[in-house]
Amino acid sequence: MKFLSDKAVDRLRQNANAPDLSGTRYQLLERVARGGMGVVYAARDEMLDRRVALKVLDVPVADGDLACRLNREARVLARLEHPGIVPVHDVGTLADGRVFYTMKFVEGQRLDKHIEAVISLPDRLRLFLRICDAVAFAHARGVLHRDLKPANVMVGAFGEVLVMDWGLAKILREQSAGKSEEEDPEATILHVPRASDSPADRTQATHVTGQGTVLGTPGYMSPEQASGDIANVDERSDIFSLGAVLRFLYTPPGCEGNQSRAWRHDKALEAICAKAVETNSSNRYISVSDLSADVSRYLDGLPVSARKETIFDKAVRFYRRHTVAILLIAAYLVMRILLLIFSHR
């Protein structure tokens, strides 16, 4: 039996893992990233002469749950046509039996890298609002992301924000709707919570078909996800993750993980985060739109729903919102007083 050198083993490993694109319209270029269950390569679509991202299972087996999941991820993306969600182009099976799909190749940076160059807090919050737009859209289409984190958001060369890696997405359907054509076997039957619902109603409104599986990323995963309590995983689980992303975004450069050094330790912003990441999901925002509305109000210098203001807070906020006008009026008054004093001498 032939001895294989370390180099030969590495080469075999690399070549055996690379997707076999023979018989497809794609030509392999390079490996760009690794997702939750697959590897993403840059490839050239020879028919349309464009660069695409090709995602293929990293486990080189054709069968099983992972292949189904990748297929489902492609279908989930196909139903989510939104500028903030990466569009899928094609799905299929390679000659080596592995499932793949292709999507738009996003030239840009991951959010966690991109924000190192974004110093202004309002600019960071505007990025966050665009993530919220995409997630709110997905929720409206009955899809939960379940793995929202800075590494799963790309910021393109022209500032476009795209939510990526929908491998753990969960397809929900509303109770009133008929049987979905592509029903997720793990699906939670979603009752979209309303403000008028009591907390008990909101937590009991879901029914489950699978329990005990933990999917997500520690630090960004809601407690109900972390404990595998699928019965209680709904929109508010994504809201928890968004709260964690928001907290990450308003931590100034170099201070990640050090909450005490957050920007001015703003109480209103901290209250928004705290409400989004409440341990008890019924105390969180009811919808992503509510969360983004609160962040928008904060950006506009308006009171946020997550925090009751004292008179002092109101005064500070009023001052911040009208700083220029207040300073001009104050300067005018000082000038008038000085003029009065000098004219009476």
Partner: protein, 245 residues
């Protein structure tokens, strides 16, 4: 090759060794030994700093012990990977051996797999690993895994060679061997095309076919020597996905 005779209905050696049929048990053990004897031998040489002769003795003794003490039946897949379990069994076996008792006990016919210790010793001489540089359990596990992958790939390459010969695709295998196994940095598709007087696309197709078959065979062998579907997926990811970012 042992894998050729392996019954398709029982894909795991752990299932097969529990079989009532002694012939099936032997085939399963041969499959396992073929994949593991070299990593075990090299591990004993380096980790336990044993001279070649004693390491040969211990390797054969270890596989005899696997049979005698029915160690595979005691394996609990919930606790560890089969590979880790076997490595720990080797450690425990070597620690408990007394040289004299060992020599008395060793008969050597634990397996039908030909153990080419001389070849293994030659491979070991070609490696630059210093036993003193692998003191931690993590690096020992890493070393054992590396040798285990090498052994698995070598078995798969050998089987691919036979597979190509049966289908009169010897040229395909030679192209695969020259491009993927030789480690020659100068080799290119153009050179191979010129050497075999074929088009570059034929070289591409030959390599693509050989790699696909290599992966299929390697995965089949891997599936056989894993105890569960879950372990197989985990090991497949470790074997083929280690270049991951």
């Amino acid at each position: 090759m042992a894998g050729d005779q392996f019954p398709v209905t029982r894909w795991s050696v752990i299932d097969a060794v529990k079989s009532e049929d002694p012939a099936e048990q032997v085939r399963a053990l041969d499959t396992l030994f073929a994949a593991y004897w070299k990593p075990v031998y090299k591990y004993v040489r380096l980790r336990w700093n044993q001279p070649a002769e004693d390491a040969q003795d211990l390797t054969q003794g270890f596989f005899a012990e696997v049979l005698e003490r029915d160690l595979l039946a005691k394996y609990d897949l919930a606790k560890s990977k089969l590979r880790t379990y076997l490595r720990l069994c080797v450690d425990s076996f070597v620690m408990n051996q007394e040289k004299a008792a060992r020599r008395q006990k060793r008969g050597g016919n634990a397996t039908h797999v030909a153990l080419d210790f001389q070849g293994a010793e030659g491979e070991l001489a070609g490696t630059t690993i210093d036993a003193a540089s692998i003191p931690s359990p993590e690096s020992l596990e890493e070393f054992f895994e590396k040798e285990w992958v090498r052994s698995l790939f070598a078995l798969a390459v050998e089987e691919l060679r036979k597979f190509c010969a049966e289908r009169e695709r010897e040229r395909t295998f030679r192209i695969f061997e020259e491009y993927d196994l030789s480690g020659d940095p100068e080799i290119s598709y153009e050179k191979l095309a010129a050497e075999y007087a074929i088009a570059i696309t034929d070289v591409t197709n030959a390599l693509s076919w050989a790699r696909r078959e290599f992966r299929r065979i390697a995965l089949e062998r891997l599936r056989e020597i894993c105890a569960s579907d879950e372990e197989f997926h985990r090991e497949a990811r470790a074997v083929f996905g280690s270049d991951a970012a």
